[in-house]
Amino acid sequence: MTAIEVRRLVKQYSAYPALDGIGFAIAAGTVTALLGPNGAGKTTIMEILTGLARPTSGTVRVLGVDPQRGPREWRSRIGVVAQSNGIDLQLTVTEALRLFARHYPRPLPVAEVLDMIDLTGDAHTRIGALSGGQRRRVDVAVGVIGRPELLFLDEPTTGLDPEARRELWRVVTRLVDQGTTVLLTTHYLDEAQHLAGRLIVLVGGRIVADAPPEQLRTRDLAPTIRLPLPVGASFAGLPDTLAAHRDPDSGELRIASADLAADLATVLDWARRNHVDLAGLQVGSPSLEDAYLALVADPAGSLL
């Protein structure tokens, strides 16, 4: 069964396409992540799929229905967690959940959802008095209270601490285990890798990759040598061809090596002579982040 089907979708703002003829289909019961830099068109897709924005051209079917014409019954089958919170801060957590639950034919029990998002202790606290992370959990709770068949998550864990992120991952995993289809956008590649079985990468309104995480990670990229370095570390004795691979942001030496044995020997020899700490040394196949960054930097090397 197909939960989402998109064909030749175009969305133009003024004369420029935010989405430039994209197409994909998502099977029911799966988790798919939309990745891409800011401005790639991820949120635009979410808005069109949820009926909040009208496409310029193309065909969109969500649960077999055109979102622009989706009746109440259709809306009762989707759940949306947008980037902004979108819940009145004057309400308590329980009031908000009860309020939204009434609109669905078979909502999840409020107590169950409170337990799921670990806010039972704050059930009667006004949302305005909660921390940012707790508010985000309430936001997710309202998104799932209607027991959606299809859940849209737009950057659900942005701003959350690592523990809260993992808690939300558990919530999403539990929903997927119950048969919910999930489409999420995220800037966290570990999140995409953990949750999604399929990654769709957008750049400039076009799809440049559509593959499982492992396939994206292991595409035609050379193995990588990673070595975190302190600020101001000397590169004396290290060949320029290798020293040039220092990441200016992180200070990390990150070498995509075509000759792993030779390059690693050179780095180890240089480190020994310069007393460089090798505790953080990593050698192996490229990470998903490496693959993603390479793809975004050079969309021509797409994986479709």
Binding site: R7, Y16, G39, E47, A82, H103, E149
Partner: protein, 290 residues
């Protein structure tokens, strides 16, 4: 892959559960909006407390031995009733609607099974109820402090006038939110229209120096007909007063204009601030996508 995969599209069967009936949902929307209003100090103060305090102060300064007190009290109560009503149905309504749009609350409701009209019905009915309550409180204060007589037959007329007035102001406020991008911009836009309107219409007492042309203009704006209609009902000695048809017609016209403009131009989506407009990737020109 710039086209859909070969997977066959199929409508996933709906669960077959019955959707909740709309009328109970509307009732819950009204309760929800009233709860929000009751927890918004600005709304409570502007709608009830401020007019009540002003009324008590003004009534305290009236000469109770003066035989003309009966003629002074009714327009005073009417003016302050309209002040509270306009504060509720215009200023509070519009600013809270802009805030809801800016905070993504409207967007959230649009993705639920609640029909768009249901959301606005809830807001407007809650606004009418608050305006009715505020008017009742002011009239009760007037009666308690001056012994003013209120004809039982005038009550349904007052209820109708306040309801139509609140709906008219709320409809105008809904339309006005189209030109108010953010909460920060709401106060200047609302204040520049609210204060002249209610002051010139006699919310704080009659302005005897108004030129004739201004009086004529005010009679076609929403506040003055509302003041006149409430004053007429309060002054009615006995039986059911006649409906103030002309005043109600003016209010209904304003309501219809506001509603038409709102239906045509209302925006559910927040105005995106410049810092939220992200740049396109290198090599891609044009306005930002999202």
């Amino acid at each position: 892959m710039n086209d859909a995969s070969a997977t066959t599209s199929a409508t996933i069967s709906p669960p077959g559960h019955r959707m909740p009936a709309l009328w109970p949902l509307l009732a819950h929307q009204v309760g929800y909006q009233l709860r929000l209003l009751s927890r918004t100090p600005r709304a409570v103060f502007g709608s009830i407390l401020m007019p009540a305090i002003l009324l008590a102060l003004r009534l305290g300064r009236l000469d109770h031995g003066d035989g003309a007190i009966a003629t002074q009290v009714a327009p005073l109560i009417a003016g302050l009733t309209v002040l509270g009503l306009a504060s509720t149905a215009y200023v509070t309504y519009a600013s809270s609607l802009v805030a809801a749009r800016q905070d993504g609350v409207l967007r959230r409701w649009r993705t639920t099974p609640l029909p768009a009209a249901g959301y606005f019905c809830g807001r407007m009915v809650a606004t009418v109820l608050l305006a009715e309550g505020a008017a009742a409180a002011l009239i009760a204060i007037g009666i308690a402090m001056t012994g003013m007589h209120l004809s039982a037959g005038a009550v349904p007329v007052l209820v109708a006038v306040v309801a139509v007035g609140a709906l008219a102001f709320a409809a105008i406020a809904t339309a006005l939110t189209v030109v108010i991008p953010t909460v920060d911009a709401a106060f200047p836009v609302l204040a520049v229209t609210f204060y002249p309107l209610v002051l010139l219409s006699g919310a704080f007492g009659s302005l005897s120096t108004e030129p004739g042309w201004l009086t004529a203009v005010l009679s076609y704006l929403p506040a003055q007909p509302l003041v006149d209609a409430v004053t007429g009902a309060l002054r009615h000695a006995g039986g059911v007063p006649p409906l103030p048809a002309r005043d109600l017609l003016v209010l209904a016209c304003w309501g219809a204009v506001g509603l038409t403009a709102a239906v045509r131009f209302f925006r559910w989506e927040p105005t995106r601030p410049p810092h939220a407009q992200t740049a396109r990737p290198a090599g891609v020109s044009g306005p930002p996508a999202r």
